[in-house]
C-alpha cells in the first residue's frame, strides 16, 4: 500500500461535489446551449440523470475490491500484460485530464482576468500548489476541501440569489423547441464532463471510510454537483438568453457580471471566479493524484513521491501543447472528448467489471456466480 491516507465518508462526498463542479461549471453551459438552445437546462437534467447510474456502476465496481485501487485490480483481473496495458490507458486518461483541466484554468485566467499574462506563468504557480498538495497526501487534500467547501457553497448561493432580479421567464420559451435529438446531443457534454471523469474516484475509493457508506457519499456529491450545474445552466438561459450563453466561452462568468443590487453591489464577478478557481483546483489535484498513484502502482514503486516533480513538469508542457487555441478546444470538447471519455470512463471499467464477475474473485463477493 503506497498511500497510507485515510479520509472519512464526508470528505469523500465533498471531494466528489467539488470535482463535479470543477471545470464543468465553466465549459458545460456553453456547450449545452449551443446544442439545445434554450432547452440547455433540460439537456443538463438528462445528462445528470444518466450520470448518476454511471457513478453507481463505478461504486459497484469498486465495492468488489474494497481495499484496492482501480489500477491494482485491473492488473490482477486482466493478467500481467493486458492488465498493465489497460492500466496504462487509465493512467494516460488521468494524466491527460490533469493537463486539460490545468489548461482550462489557465485559459480562464488569461482570458478573463489577466490577458497579458503568459499562460505558462499561471500554470506554473498552480502546479506548485498542486505538487505541494499531492506531496502532502490525500488526507491533507481532503481536509483542505472541507475548509473551502463552505465558501464555495456560500458564494454559489449568493450568485444564484442575486441573479433573481435579472431573470426573464420569456427566455426559456418555447420549451422543447430543440427536440429530443438536440437535447441528447447536449446531454453528451454533461455526461462526459464531469461524470465520465469521476472514474478517477476509483483510485481513492479504498481509502475512503467505511466501504458500505462510500456509494451513498459519492452519489450525493455527484448529484449535488449535477444539480448546481443544472441551476447554473438554467440561470444562463434565463438571465443571458441562450444565444449569449452559447457564444461566450465562459458564460457562468458573464452571468456573474450581471449581478447588480442597488448601486453598490456590482462588478463583483471576480468573487465568482474564485469559486470556479477553487473547484477546479480540487478537480486538478485529484486527477493528478490519481495519475501519480496509478503510475506508481503500475510500476510497483515504493511511493509516488519521486514522481511528483517530473510528472508535474510533463503536465506543464502537455498543458501548453494540447491545443493551440480555444476554438480547437471547443470543437474537441463537443465532438471527440465524449467518445474518448466513454471508452476510458465506461467501456474499460466495464471490461474490468466483467472480468471481475467472471473470475468471481470480488474480495467481498459473498456468492460465487456461475459463468454467464
Amino acid at each position: 500500500m503506497i498511500e497510507k491516507g485515510n479520509i472519512n465518508t464526508r470528505q469523500y462526498s465533498i471531494l466528489s461535489l467539488l470535482f463535479s463542479l470543477g471545470s464543468a461549471i465553466l465549459i458545460v453551459p456553453s456547450a449545452l446551449t449551443s446544442a439545445a438552445k434554450q432547452d440547455g437546462w433540460i439537456a443538463a437534467i438528462v445528462g445528470v440523470a444518466a450520470g448518476i447510474p454511471l457513478i453507481a456502476f463505478y461504486n459497484a465496481l469498486g465495492a468488489r475490491h474494497p481495499d484496492k485501487t482501480l489500477i491494482e485490480y485491473t492488473e490482477l483481473l486482466l493478467g500481467k500484460w493486458v492488465g498493465k496495458i489497460v492500466g496504462l490507458l487509465f493512467f494516460s486518461y488521468f494524466f491527460l485530464l490533469s493537463a486539460l483541466v490545468l489548461r482550462n484554468v489557465g485559459d480562464f485566467i488569461t482570458t478573463i482576468v489577466m490577458p497579458e499574462t503568459p499562460i505558462q506563468a499561471v500554470h506554473l504557480i498552480l502546479l506548485i500548489a498542486i505538487a505541494m498538495g499531492v506531496g502532502l497526501g490525500l488526507e491533507v487534500i481532503a481536509r483542505s476541501a472541507e475548509i473551502f467547501l463552505p465558501w464555495v457553497l456560500l458564494l454559489l448561493f449568493f450568485l444564484i440569489v442575486f441573479l433573481f432580479p435579472k431573470i426573464e421567464m420569456d427566455r426559456i420559451q418555447p420549451v422543447f423547441e430543440s427536440g429530443i435529438k438536440a437535447i441528447l446531443r447536449g446531454s453528451l457534454s454533461v455526461i462526459s464532463i464531469p461524470y465520465l471523469e469521476l472514474v478517477v474516484f476509483l483510485m481513492i475509493f479504498p481509502y475512503a471510510g467505511k466501504p458500505e457508506r462510500r456509494g451513498a457519499a459519492i452519489i450525493k456529491g455527484g448529484l449535488i454537483g449535477g444539480t448546481v450545474l443544472v441551476v447554473i445552466t438554467l440561470l444562463c438561459v434565463l438571465v443571458l438568453g441562450w444565444d449569449f450563453a452559447s457564444r461566450h466561452t465562459f458564460p457562468s462568468y458573464t452571468l456573474a457580471k450581471k449581478i447588480q443590487i442597488g448601486e453598490f453591489l456590482q462588478r463583483i464577478e471576480v468573487l465568482v471566479a474564485i469559486i470556479w478557481f477553487l473547484t477546479i483546483f480540487f478537480k486538478l489535484v485529484l486527477c493528478f493524484y490519481a495519475s501519480l498513484l496509478g503510475l506508481a502502482q503500475l510500476l510497483k514503486m515504493n511511493s509516488y513521491r519521486p514522481l511528483i516533480v517530473p510528472c508535474a513538469m510533463i503536465v506543464l508542457i502537455v498543458s501548453i501543447v494540447v491545443y493551440p487555441n480555444i476554438v480547437y478546444f471547443r470543437i474537441f470538447a463537443s465532438e471527440i472528448w465524449p467518445f474518448y471519455a466513454l471508452t476510458m470512463g465506461f467501456l474499460l471499467p466495464l471490461l474490468v467489471w466483467i472480468a471481475s464477475m467472471i473470475r468471481s474473485t470480488g474480495d467481498t463477493a459473498s456468492k460465487s456466480r456461475p459463468r454467464a
Partner: protein, 75 residues
Amino acid sequence: MIWIALIAAACVVRFEYVKLYRRKQFKDLSISACLLGFAMTLFILRSAGVPIPDPLDWISAVYKPASKIILSALS
C-alpha cells in the same frame, strides 16, 4: 522557462534522489530519473522551438469516425 525546469530538476536531485539513494530504493530512483530526463527533453525541445506532438491530435484521429456517425445520427 527552461531555467525553471533546471531549478526544479536541481531541487529534485538534491532533496529526493539523495534520500532515495540512501534508502537504496534504486528502482524508484531510476524510474523517476527517466521521467525527469523525459521532462527535461520536452522543456529543451520547447525552448528550441521544436513542435511537440499533440496527444489530442492522436485521440481525434482515432475517434473522428465514431464521432461523425453518432453525432450525425443525433442531428
